[in-house]
Subunit: 231 residues, 4 copies
DNA sequence: CATGAATGAGATTTCATTCAT
DNA sequence: GATGAATGAAATCTCATTCAT
């Protein structure tokens, strides 16, 4: 019984997700959604107070699930600030790309809606964004990132980049693919905020003899700049 | 006569800009706009085919003026890729901050509107964005930026950051100020894409005698990586 | 079982009485009433065919009880037309005042409802009104009231007065009290319809002598005007 | 132009009056009224904010006209409290009888509506009722009526009687005629509140002779109570 | 028998848009 | 050219009522 209800509610949400994403909130009608969900108009109102309530309820599950999965399944296994950051961005991009209706809804219908800010769905989205912020702050605290970067700004750059790409993807069809930009974005951003490594030390053993000078050994000192930054 | 008409049209556009920005496209009514402009509803339709046409026409002037001014008054006096980039971003941010109704309109009402993509207003916005892209490409070509960065991605990062901040500014009221983020954003992004200087060459003159070794000279080679201090 | 059912039905009726009286028939919803009665919507329909049927059923019990009590407990102990009349009006006013929901329902929701005229509840109310009419007719027949008054009109005056006060009481809050108007109304109406007493006869014994005239006896005849009218 | 508008508005009001009176507020639909008025649904809303606003506006004109006419055309020519009273009641009854839709609307739809109390239409009705009250008070002041009657109560008796008859007339079809009850109601009420005249004085001339006694003259004193026959 | 759940059936109301003047 | 006035065309939302369990 409760299952039937839940299923019905889900069907309404799924229909609404698709139709709102495709036609926009204003252009979509409850009738259309109800028909797509196989219920009557009135039934939609059994589950949702208003059309806007329906809109605002849609992202709840997906956002919650994604955040939960990230926290439970992914986060615990990550070591290192950068790895975490990469995982977060990857999670966003992958979520958006694998659920284009969802991302279209969030990017095109909800992000600019003042009322949405007051909903619990928005709370979840904010939670996810806070995870990213915490990660950046941790990176600053542990010396991975420069001390003087503004973590909020860094987050804005990252989220802004993600969102911009996602919107382009939806409206212009380009890029054709979101996840492949995860690394480039992060490389760019990380290069911009990474703390410089300790100065490189070079030791050169010169063997000076009458015959000449022979370089016997030239080795990088440990602690040199690692990673992609050298590209 | 034509002046009177132009003035009338401008009054309608200004009223519409304010009202659309404050209440959103759907919530605003033609009646309201007409009243605010001091004309009749029907007169609005003398100048604009539909409500949406009015919406799409609004940003035309401001966008065009801003772009023209940038090209004519600012651009010619700039030397260097980074200076140009900084000027572009500064122009965006300043335009958005000094014209909050305009930026609210663009960010909250137009950016997500599929129909807007087909308008000439959008063409102008695209032109401005192309200016930014050209600048990035020029930076790559002239060796300011790494050869392997994706200029489109860099632009997305920059525009995304700008837009994200602007949307937050409108919806959340934070940050309280846009232009002060111009430099931090660019510092971050530029640090991420700047080409490394030519490898640092160090020449050490060792004076090896029976008495010992004396370092005679140790100097940086020209072309070393410049630090932040120079910005 | 039947008791449980009867109790349930009563709970529904009581809830409906209160809610219909407070919000009006149209504004009240079955859901609301069902919830207040602690039953489901559908259960309401087990006991009442329609919403209107519920409305019409509500006054049945109270009206019937009041009429029955009047006939059984009060009427038998009354002697005289005026006493009866006073008791009837007192019963109305007291019933209305002690059961404000009931009187609001009758005065504000039912009295103007054409369909109500066909119900058995209305029959009861008509019965009560007939009691009043009978009493007036009896008063005419027994010479208490003038022969030429129209009993229907008298009843209309009495009922109209009662109803007018009751409606004012509900809508305007004034008078603050109904029963205290019983006597004033009746005094007014009775004074207007009471039959004049038999002509007053005066006998004067004049003792006429040569010495003069002496009034020996002057007495009222029996049958002079009685009652409150002289106050 | 304005005439056309006014005419249109009147047509809507007249259609609404008829339909609201016939079917009741809830049963009537705007569509029906619009059709009967020969306009579109939307046009109704050009003239009236809501359906209820339309309802409340209907009685305005008729009530106002009637009150104005009474005050300007009738009242100035009346002498004496009772004549005035009679004229007021006559005006009510005649208005109600000659405009059955209007009286049905007022008696069956408006009188019990709490929101109506806040309208300007109700103000007018209250004004008319105040006229009646003033008249009663004047009668008390000038000695026509007993000093100790409650003028508000008298008014309630009069208005209640009128309303009761009017409601019966609409719902039951009886009496078949309202105005013929004006006099009987007033006779009844006036008889109940009229101040008693000065005591009747009788002078008898007895002519006493040896032959016997002859009554020479027996006349009523002036100022004796007038009987019904004189009305 | 009680009810949770679903819905049929509209009605009100809103505006963008048109058109005659 | 400007506009007052009218309206076409829906869409949201509400409930009384029904029915399967």
């Amino acid at each position: 019984m409760s299952d039937i209800k839940a299923a019905r509610k889900n069907r309404i949400i799924e229909a609404a997700l698709r139709i709102f994403a495709e036609k926009g909130f204003q252009e979509a009608t409850i009738s259309e959604i109800a028909k797509a969900a196989g219920v009557s108009d009135a039934t939609v109102y059994e589950y949702f107070k208003t059309k806007e309530d329906l809109l605002f309820t849609i992202p709840e599950k997906l956002t919650g699930d994604a955040l939960r999965e990230f926290r439970e399944t992914i986060l615990p296994y990550l070591r290192g600030t950068e790895a975490k950051l990469r995982a977060i961005v990857q999670t966003y991009m992958s979520l958006y790309e694998r659920n284009p209706h969802y991302s279209a809804l969030v990017m095109l219908q909800l992000k600019a809606n003042r009322n949405f800010l007051k909903t619990s769905s928005y709370e979840q989205i904010r939670d996810a964004a806070r995870e990213l912020l915490d990660c950046i702050r941790a990176g600053i605290a542990d010396g991975t990132f420069k001390k003087d970067v503004d973590p909020l700004l860094v987050r804005s750059v990252i989220l802004g980049s993600i969102e911009h790409l996602c919107v382009r993807w939806h409206l212009l069809g380009t890029p054709s693919n979101l996840v492949e930009h995860v690394d480039p974005i992060l490389d760019l951003v990380l290069d911009g905020i990474r703390a410089p490594g300790p100065a490189k030390e070079i030791s050169v053993h010169l063997h000076v003899t009458a015959d000449g000078v022979k370089v016997e050994n030239a080795g990088d000192a440990p602690g040199g700049k690692r990673g992609k930054g050298e590209e």
